[in-house]
Subunit: 421 residues, 2 copies
């Protein structure tokens, strides 16, 4: 396969204007060590390979892309998850090992073999993710050759390093941490993620890894992770595109335990832990939106009054994914007419004549039309800000949902009209 | 309602690079006269109101937006279509009379009353459309005042004038004409349309009016129009947005008749007429794509091997609506990996390992991976052209469909980040 050389837009080096003020310092979590290095897979002058090694007894749960053209690593993770145990996680950036046929499957197998031998564990305790360009053979020998050296330098403090190594077009590393108590014992929840383009519901080109020191059985972890993902990673959209590699994995090293070990989602002792897991996932999901390709504004869309929660979410996404709405936001234009349009095309029940639209604190429409005293000037001022909230009540029921997105700007076109990194 | 003045991007005056070389001259059609004038509704220095008057006996059929927040004129047309007869068509640009509550319904009623009195016909023989900004009250008195003068200047040669009056962000007027024979008698089919942003399946911000001199019963016209619209206007997408005002109407003046009058879709004498109707609708639909906001390339996507025709179309639209695919096209990047991604997210059955992707004449993937001898250079050359074809076989069945779209460029952002015209 011959391919002309292209420039790598990622190196442009401009950090998103919506980036958080500071990168959080993640505390060590007992039972995991991690780190990264530059394996030379694709990028020059940056790390592209991360390894996390977990102590024996670590449990794992995961939510993977629903794409029907999923990448080879996804298929492997789906299989390995059934074992519920984890000792190693290997993530490379620069090459997604997606649509690489049997060679791609072979590349995963060789990486898993090497990592299992190195760590001394079962093959199905090794998890792998790849992110980057689709359709190019993964030079897995570079990964395999790098693993021993990488293993020699992992540490309990490698969170920032790991978060940086998995970036592709991300302009800042994404990290989040919370703590909670389970039955009076303190537990930690750390997470790292990468995002940028191809972000949409049902998982997107995003990878997220969350680690806790709690002791939890894998099926319960799966239920809690699914619930957290639904209200975080699956409630964001940058460009409506879903990738072939989306992955969220939750690891529990089991260093902190309570008796009896919780087994039910409804266990009251888990309330704080579930809130912490929700918060880490939501924090990472918001960071992904804030680093949406070309994003200049962070947008929250609250939909109420829908026939169901599912209907509310579909209406929210119809608004969030509308190029006309997104470009209006980019232009600071309080063009609520486009919100009406998007509600109309969502295909969910809505009462046009009860539709209430608020931008920020201003109620704009009522009774099927714009309010007679509506003054656009203060709303246009509000739209000049970086954090925009729309509230839309569609007047038919009690279903509600919130989705988050960013605007559609020239930056998105610039990044994507010539990207192959 | 107070609103700051905004600039009108439409006046920028640049014609789409994909515009047809010349504007076709439409022949007169016996039984219809039409024309336009500047009523001063919103735009300065251009026409914004068109009137077509049909001879008694004219039949009508229509396909209207499925938006659940449809505009007042749509509701009127839906009602009037049940009568099946038409004497007048009034279309204004600049104001969509959408989301205007009871005032909007009243504005339609007054326009219809005035036109019915002027022409001397039933109210339900008057059809109205409005296109432009959503949510502002329609100053229908300007329409009503203009109607007598406008009626005084309509003629059999007013096609070009009419096509120009209904434009909003369109950069060129859209006209198409074909002829056919029914049982040896020659009939004409003329059409005009407007398009631009908010173009998506299930109708978009597009208006199209087709007129023939054939004699046809309204139910048969409805069946033929539905079939033609499905493979033309409903097979195009500019930005996946569906408008509140989409309308396609077919008028038959009945000046040319054959005995017995055809009543069945399957009547073999209609083969040529149906082909002409298909061709006029497809020609207009393609012109709408060629005038997509900011469009620099016209893209045809042929999907084969799908589980059904519907599945093929959904896969086609997943590709056509993907911002990542559309920006890659804008950049002339043969990024077939994004096509794989879009196939995967369509939610329709596809066999990743049988997926065949062709760009132009070059077969790129086979057996779940890129062909070993694939050379990107000639495909990159091909992508520099203005007319791009993708062929995608998903390897599971015999369903096939073609959809058309344009690329996503800086021009789209420029037009939409500050549009209120």
């Amino acid at each position: 396969m011959k391919r002309p050389r292209r420039r790598n837009n990622h190196v442009a080096g401009q950090v998103s204007p919506l980036a958080p003020g500071r990168t959080p310092d993640l505390p060590p979590i007992d039972g995991v060590r991690l780190g990264a290095l530059a394996s030379g897979l694709r990028y020059r002058g940056r790390t592209d390979l991360m390894l996390a090694e977990f102590d024996p007894g670590t449990r794992v749960a995961g939510v993977l892309t629903k794409s029907l053209t999923a990448a080879a690593p996804i298929e492997w993770c789906r299989e390995a998850l059934s074992g519920g145990q984890a000792r190693g996680l290997i993530v490379n950036s620069g090459n997604a090992n997606a649509f690489t046929g049997s060679a791609g499957v072979g590349a995963v197998a060789k990486t898993v073999d090497a990592a299992a031998a190195l760590i001394g564990c079962e093959r199905d305790q090794i998890f792998v993710s790849s992110t980057g360009v689709i359709g190019e053979p993964l030079p897995q020998e570079k990964i395999v050759e790098s693993l021993p050296g990488l293993r020699g330098r992992i540490s309990a403090d490698g969170w920032d390093e790991a978060a940086r190594a998995i970036m592709t077009t991300d302009t800042f590393p994404k990290l989040a941490a919370r703590s909670a108590t389970i039955d009076g014992r303190s537990v930690k929840v750390n997470g790292i993620a990468k995002g940028s383009g191809m972000i949409a519901p049902d998982m997107a080109t995003m990878l997220a890894y969350v680690v806790t020191d709690a002791t939890l059985p894998a099926p319960l972890m799966q239920a809690m992770l699914k619930s957290s993902v639904d209200r975080s990673f699956n409630a964001i959209t940058v460009d409506s595109d879903t990738s072939t590699s989306d992955t969220v994995l939750l690891f529990a090293t089991g260093k902190v335990s309570v008796e009896p070990v919780p087994t039910e989602f409804s266990d009251r002792r888990l309330k704080g832990f579930r809130a912490a897991l929700d918060a880490v996932c939501l924090d990472l999901a918001h960071q992904i939106v804030r680093d949406g390709e070309g994003a200049s504004k962070f947008v929250s869309i609250n939909v109420t009054g829908a026939a169901s929660k599912r209907a509310a979410r579909r209406i929210g996404f119809a608004i969030a994914n509308s190029p006309l709405v997104k470009t209006a936001i980019a232009g600071g234009d309080p063009n609520w007419g486009r919100i009406v349009m998007a509600v109309g095309k969502a295909g969910e029940k809505a009462d046009r004549d009860k539709l209430r639209i608020k931008i920020g604190q201003t109620l704009i429409t009522e009774g099927g039309m714009v309010r007679p005293d509506y003054d656009e000037a203060p709303v246009a001022d509000y739209m000049r800000g970086q954090d925009i909230t729309f509230e839309v009540d569609v007047g038919v029921g009690r279903g509600r949902a919130t989705v988050w997105t960013c605007d559609l700007t020239h930056g998105y076109i610039e990044i994507n009209a010539d990207y192959r990194s």
